[in-house]
Symmetry: C2
């Protein structure tokens, strides 16, 4: 056998401005190295209880059931789908991007009878099409994505939520790229299953999936005719650990949950409204800068997702080469396009701790320089002016990399 390589490997410092993961606040890094503690330790159970108190205001809900699933955002997606759908259930899935389609795939595996409303990537779902489907036949559930990470579209929910109420249909909503950065109104919209991730706008490490179910969803799950196919994601089992019974289900990761608690404290210390306003302001400043450079956004202004910006790649520019250059020379990580948007857009994330003036003022010169290297000229001064004008001399609450470097002991 070949000798094993036992060299230590340190993580390099990046500036994370892609679709996720995004940069993490130094206080979260500290929390992630909290002493490990038992999953039934009375002190640790309080951590889980506090998470279940601090999450509902982000979701905009009074739901009794709100905590974090022991897996990434996709585990939360599957928890919603697998718990709420039984074989043969008629469901309506709205697909206008990669993650809408992921919901469809998961629902298929649960044996659902699926009707898909497809829309072009970069456009929102048209409520009129939802209404047309709901009129035609009765559906148990509509599944859709609030913030489509693959396209940069923020789906307006009010109309569809109204229709779901009118036709007595449940809703599953993906808020992976919005929770903690954009207002969510689970109760007002009447959402029955809503999930997100612990990273992105929340700002903890990846590995947990904040989730909430409406009381009627919990009741429905209890009355299922068939068991949930996944034991690991069966909310009736996990709920017995989160709730007062404290029945062992899995070894809850104190590492990730102390990180999540710290991230939630940071969110509430900032204040939800101030936080949402910060995300919006930095998004507008980015768009102003990008457009002043002569680049175009994929999504119409009315549907742009403040947390994830899809910038069109100018014709003739080599996507891979440009992103490699940014990573190597600027240690800047932005995302490429997914699926049918591969090679067509960049995905620039401004979420949580990463939604900062510091990041904007770094990104504009970096992308301008990278484009110039490929012979694509931009007016950098105009780009920076546009960003600064939007920021109005403010918005730099965080100076990301310095604190990050300090936290990592670099």
């Amino acid at each position: 056998m070949e000798a094993l390589n036992l060299q230590r490997q340190e993580a390099p410092l990046r500036r994370l401005m892609g679709p996720g993961p995004l940069d993490v606040h130094p206080r979260v890094y500290k929390a992630l190295s909290s002493p490990v503690i038992g999953y039934l330790d009375p002190v640790y159970l309080k951590v889980l209880d506090r998470i279940s108190e601090l999450l509902p205001p982000l979701f905009g809900t009074q739901n009794r059931l709100a905590n974090a699933m022991p897996g990434t955002g996709s585990s939360g997606m599957e928890a919603c789908v697998a718990n709420l759908i039984e074989p043969g259930d008629r469901i309506l899935v709205c697909v206008a991007g990669f993650f809408g389609d992921r919901i469809r795939q998961m629902a298929e595996r649960q044996g659902a009878e699926i009707t898909v409303i497809e829309e072009d990537w970069g456009k929102p779902i048209d409520p009129a099409r939802v209404e047309a489907e709901l009129k035609q036949g009765s559906y148990k559930l509509i599944a859709l994505v609030h913030a489509e990470t693959s396209t940069g579209v923020l789906q307006p929910i009010d109309d569809i939520a109204q229709l779901a109420k009118q036709y007595d249909t449940m809703i599953v909503l993906d808020t992976v790229s919005s929770l903690g950065g954009i207002e969510i109104k689970v109760d007002e919209w009447g959402i029955d299953g809503c999930f997100s991730c612990s990273q992105k706008c929340i700002g903890c490490a990846a590995g947990l999936s904040p989730i909430t179910f409406s009381d009627r969803a919990v009741e429905m799950i209890k009355k299922r005719k068939t068991p949930v196919s996944s034991w690991y994601l069966d909310i009736s089992l996990i709920e017995k650990y989160w709730g007062n019974e404290r029945v062992y289900h899995h070894t809850s990761s104190s590492t990730l949950n102390y990180g999540l608690l710290e991230a939630l404290l940071l969110i509430h210390e900032e204040g939800l409204n101030k936080r949402f306003a910060r995300h919006l302001k930095n998004h507008k400043a980015l768009v102003a800068g990008v457009e002043a450079l002569g680049l175009k956004m994929l999504v119409d202004q009315a549907y742009r997702l403040p947390t994830l910006n899809t910038v069109m790649i100018p014709q003739g520019v080599d996507d891979i080469k440009l992103r490699r250059y940014l990573l190597e020379k600027f240690r800047l990580d932005i995302g490429g396009g997914f699926g049918r948007l591969k090679g067509k857009v960049w995905r620039v994330g401004l979420m949580g701790y990463s939604s900062s003036a510091d990041n904007l003022l770094f990104f504009i010169p970096a992308i301008s320089r990278a484009l110039a290297l490929q012979g694509y000229r931009t007016d950098l001064a105009a780009g920076l002016d546009a960003v600064l004008a939007e920021l109005d001399g403010n918005g730099n609450e965080f100076t990301a990399l310095q604190e990050k470097a300090a936290a990592a002991g670099a």
Copy 2:
């Protein structure tokens, strides 16, 4: 709405000697606060590759497919069960404890036709009973637990492995409490699906599940007639991210995987044989000490699990009261019994970094004192003498709590 409690909450230092989580090495704590990095960053992909190189020697395999699932040990259990079983498959599940029964429950949800071989909790499965079942009918798969965390039994595998070969039956093996502390021989035994957790004997934080599949298992999964019911745990999808294709599946937690890499480096720096010997020596010393105190072990000597020791609770001793006292006064966390062993045994874990002379020398006086408070007298001097005699003045490679306190900045 009531005002939210925004007070910071620090994790207290415990001495973790239960069934898990166990204490974590300071270098792992440091790795857990590594700068977050993108799941497709070339530097990060090397981390995943190195994990897939460092895990196989622990599993005793040359399998191409070995890495860590994005969930706790139970997610690995369900990944094995859900990927290898299709509805209607005939499978044999050996149940001699809580986790054998968990496998049974998961298999049931996959629609398997299940035959259960039950054994008393605290006893191993008798190979003769396995043979009797295999003779009667053809089974696709036998599922069993190598190290039953609920009973403290180490299941001998050689005979059963031989039978599975003879009757051309696949094997799924749970090594949650053995991988990294006890030798595993996946290739020699002919195991097709083997899973563990990132905590316990591995010594990282909880949240990942090391897993490996034999090549024939991978082929079989590719030829399934029905899709795997769980998208999140579908190994054919995850494999495309772990392998050269690097197809996005989930946002791999760099936090947990840097921690896992560091834990694996610590294991290989110590050396597997030395590590297994350390676990065995400390186990023997614990048993010697416990018996010298006049306490009894649940499991016969031949089948005792070195990593998890089930000590019988003497009649008249209040389990809950005793463990609360240990936690409050000695900040020592040991486990209670599960299911039908509730109130009957304590579960004392000596795994990974926690398998240390330091912990033994702390535990014996602590339990002796706690018993004395309930009027149960033990000969503490004899207990300590027995431990020290077994340790032979050695075995204290780690001085756990001091380093742990230093790492946590306490």
